[in-house]
Amino acid sequence: MGSNNDRGQEQLVRRRPLLAVLGTGTAAALAGCEDITNQSFEASSVGLAADAQETLQLSELASESTTLEKSAADGNVSVSITTHTAVYSRAAALGGL
């Protein structure tokens, strides 16, 4: 399930002209300043339970999270997007490589 933290639209409107000039990289760098809106989104993990891995002959090779920082809304919002990944291998489940 995604989570969201929005600090208000009025600040967005006031900051738009400045941030439009500064560009997205600067907007990200300014994240944390009082007039910048920060929003973070994180997905729930989805994967195969141990018994499903055994049934399908798929073994988990890796499970990790990556977070993408970007700007949105014409640079007025600093966005953090966290994606979860899981990787499974048939060969590993067979006892090989």
């Binding site: 997905a43 195969l48 993408l68 994606t83 990787v87 006892g95």
Partner: protein, 376 residues
């Protein structure tokens, strides 16, 4: 000791793993002998040294591994690198009588099942056998789990020991050494022969054994190895919106675009392409719509389309044929399932056509659908 499963419980699976330098995920391909220039193959390891027409002989050729780059297909140019398969009834002989050391096994201990779904049944695929031979492949239903109906497989060994060829004792595969003078009915026998057994027993009367074979211009098919190269990546990414607009490209781009994204490419490397491999997609990826197998999968309770692609890689991974199968679904998050598999077809014209028509595509789609249904 690791409990070996599926294809690694079979002699062919272990042969492929061994020839691949320990990487069973490199899989193998099957050539028809006539396609690599073998019009006639003398079987000097049998009494009478009968010959068999090349159109009845198939060559199982592992992907092997180049020492420098994990995924690079090693050169293959010699008979010794292959395992030959010949249906006994294609040999013009009344009885099969091995003249040197040989073993007899049941089919289920030699060839992996065709299905990539572990519970999918025990039939070995006909892709193991030559396509243009005299034997009707459709009648060679190779029932593996029903041992009482299984065909006997005779494996002549030498000049190497059984363990050197298959990396395990004969008892691992319930193999029994053939007795002196023991004979077999050709109609119920499959011959599986290491290439160096064939070349070392090449009779003088048949001339010189070929020094090299033309693997580079022949089109093979993926060996039905039970999905040994299959990997699957699952991504769960938020449906992030700001002021009503989506800001997470992974959740809204089409699948053609999605597969080009770094986030997806990185997990695909983890799932099978090798993290350090610098590869390109030389041909494709081409979207395909197979007629056989499932067209949809159930992902987190919702039915959704399975989108499939085939391609042929270049760069460090030159000549690998790959299949990609994508299932996507939305809830609170966007979930992406990408199954992939690769086959060492080689950089040869028509490789993508072989892959497109391969049974591996159907099996992979079944496994991706089963995987999606089990996600939680």
């Amino acid at each position: 000791m690791v409990d070996r499963m599926g294809p690694l419980r079979t002699a062919m699976g272990r042969f492929v793993e061994r020839r691949n330098g320990g990487l069973v995920s490199h899989g193998a391909v099957v050539f028809d002998a006539v396609d690599v220039g073998l019009s006639e193959v003398p079987l000097g390891m049998l009494d009478g040294a009968p010959s068999v027409a090349g159109r009845n002989v198939s060559l199982v050729t592992p992907g092997a591994a180049d020492g420098n780059v994990e995924i690079k297909i090693a050169m293959r140019d010699h008979l010794d690198t292959a395992m030959l398969i010949v249906p006994g009834e294609a040999i013009d002989i009344d009885e099969i009588a091995p003249s040197g050391e040989a073993y007899v096994l049941s089919l289920g201990d030699v060839l992996p099942t065709q299905s990539w779904i572990p519970s999918g049944g025990g039939t070995a695929g006909s892709d193991w056998l030559a396509r243009g031979g005299d034997v009707d492949v459709s009648e060679l239903e190779l029932v593996v789990e029903k041992v009482e109906r299984a065909r006997r497989v005779v494996v002549p060994t030498g000049p190497r020991r059984f363990e050197e060829i298959f990396g395990a004792e004969p008892s691992t595969f319930s193999a029994r050494q053939v007795d002196n003078g023991e004979t077999f009915d050709p109609a119920n026998t499959l011959m599986v022969m290491p290439g160096d057994n064939v070349s070392s027993n090449w009779p003088e009367s048949a001339g010189e054994p070929p020094e090299s074979l033309d693997f580079r211009s022949a089109l093979p098919r993926p060996a039905p190895m039970g999905g040994v190269s299959f990997g699957v990546a699952v991504l769960s990414t938020p449906n992030a919106k700001v002021q009503g607009n989506s800001v997470n490209p992974l959740s809204y781009v089409d699948t053609d675009d999605l597969l080009q994204r770094d986030a997806v490419q990185n997990v695909l490397k983890e799932a099978g392409f090798g993290e350090g491999t610098a590869f390109t997609v030389d041909i494709g990826p081409e979207r395909i719509s197979p007629q056989d197998g499932p067209s949809t999968a159930t992902l987190l309770g919702n039915e959704t389309e399975i989108e499939s692609y085939v391609g042929v890689l270049g760069g460090d991974a030159e000549g690998w044929g790959v299949g990609l199968h994508v299932v996507r679904g939305d809830g609170n998050d966007h979930v992406i399932v990408v199954g992939l598999h690769r086959h060492p077809i080689g950089p040869v014209d028509g490789a993508i056509d072989v892959l497109r028509e391969s049974n591996a595509i159907v099996e992979a789609r079944k496994l991706v659908a089963e995987t999606a249904a089990q996600l939680q």
